[in-house]
Symmetry: C2
Subunit: 270 residues, 2 copies
């Protein structure tokens, strides 16, 4: 099988790197400050139409990030989970998920994070996973590398499922997915299998701590940031059918391209 999956992020040029990377760190730091004020404070939980939770922290972080982007880049587009799309035809578009893992957040779990990405002509050139409680900000640059502070992060090699750490967000949602009948035995074959996942699962793959992260349901505000983070670290990311992750509604990310191919093959086998 061909392991040469195409990259889905576009290459960031030097001027874009100098301009946008410090700004992404500013957005992440401000989001972190807001979220930390709400964590473990009994923040009220509201259910949205799709039965997913939202809190005042999600809304406030996105409001503030939108305000800062609009002030600095008034001609850029913005898509966010809580407040929708502005200027969809702009060449540069920011895609924001103020709290990815709101269920973790309201369960007092540590693993949620803020996702920030920047698209140029519809392809991400920059993606960030910011973990407010620990202060880790992982930034993937289109064309590489992926940086944690000033350290270059690399995925690890792991060619065999039996040696792999496999992560997902929800076991039962994954079992109920179209590929569930193939996934369930696969999850048993993995050396270590854990859920919670959310953006932290991709953090673990990109930093070489885990090998596979699979998500049954994702929206574009989740996916756009994850693609440059994983690809910049040497990993691979596609939909669960092997297609373009940017148009997918589910995601498979792998540290080792050969394992990515093997897992796609196993999941495609009825």
């Amino acid at each position: 099988m061909n392991h040469n999956f195409p990259r889905h992020s576009a290459t960031l040029d030097h001027a874009e790197r100098d301009e946008f990377v410090p700004f992404v760190h500013e957005l992440a730091a401000i989001g972190t400050a807001i979220i930390r004020r709400h964590y473990l404070q009994g923040t009220a939980i509201e259910l949205k139409g799709d039965d997913t939770p939202v809190t005042a922290a999600d809304r406030r972080v996105e409001e503030v990030m939108r305000l800062l982007i609009a002030q600095r880049y008034p001609d850029h587009g913005i898509l966010g989970e809580e407040y929708g799309m502005q200027r969809p035809d702009a060449r540069y578009r920011w895609v924001l998920d103020p709290i990815d893992g709101t269920k973790a957040f309201v369960s007092n779990c540590f693993i949620f994070g803020t996702l920030i990405s920047l698209l140029r002509d519809g392809r991400p050139i920059l993606g960030a996973i910011a973990h407010p409680l620990t202060g880790h900000v992982l930034v993937g640059l289109g064309g590489g590398p992926t940086l944690l502070g000033d350290r270059v992060m690399r995925t690890r090699r792991c060619a065999r499922l039996e040696d792999a750490t496999l992560l997902t967000t929800s076991h039962w949602e994954m079992v109920d997915h179209r590929v569930g009948p193939a996934f369930e035995p696969l999850s048993r074959r993995a050396r270590l299998y854990r859920s919670w996942g959310d953006c932290h699962g991709y953090f673990q793959v990109a930093t070489g701590g885990a090998d596979l992260m699979i998500d049954p349901v994702l929206k574009s505000w989740d996916i756009c940031a994850l693609v440059p983070v994983i690809e910049g670290a040497g990993g691979r990311v596609t939909g669960i059918d092997g297609g373009d992750p940017l148009t997918a509604s589910d995601l498979l990310a792998s540290g080792d391209p050969s394992l990515h191919a093997e897992v796609l093959r196993l999941l495609a086998t009825p």
Copy 2:
């Protein structure tokens, strides 16, 4: 069914509180400092005889904690995961797990923690879960309360499994447990079901963010700290058979005593 499960921790008196609580915070702070130096630094992983991982961080944290205890309380006993038992007949005995969740630690996941407890005449009077990456230190006092800094933490009420957030460490280890045939459908009925768990699952229950944490395999260096943390916050903790957690090899912790009774009943049904 009788919901009045007995408490398994013993009450801490004022002199013990003044003497030992600041010392537990000192141990937690020093452990945290050591662990943070090792996190995401490519620390070598060694497999022990029971196939569980250990790193230089686990060993160094326990060494230093033992040194500090022996210097301050030379007649106290110490049991730790990595270096065994000293003075098993002492009236006061410290029970230590330097890194609970070493698999999470080596997977670059945030949820591992240091467990510290103090037993008097074989019953815990004090337990702490310290999360090095976020700095949270949750201290359960025998007889209550459970404190996060100076804030009193309480479990939340949740009488129905369908409304509950259920946590475990490993899905497949739980399915392979004696009660696995009853557990698997129960985990599907819960409103939210996630793994990783480890000590963070008990942190989530004790702080009112989750309702149930179940662990298929635990050792006494894990259990002793968790009992006062859960009980001090108003929750219940027993073995999976409903018996004394301090002599159990598995654990169920619940925020709501009535839900605890219901889940024990469901798990006992073949």
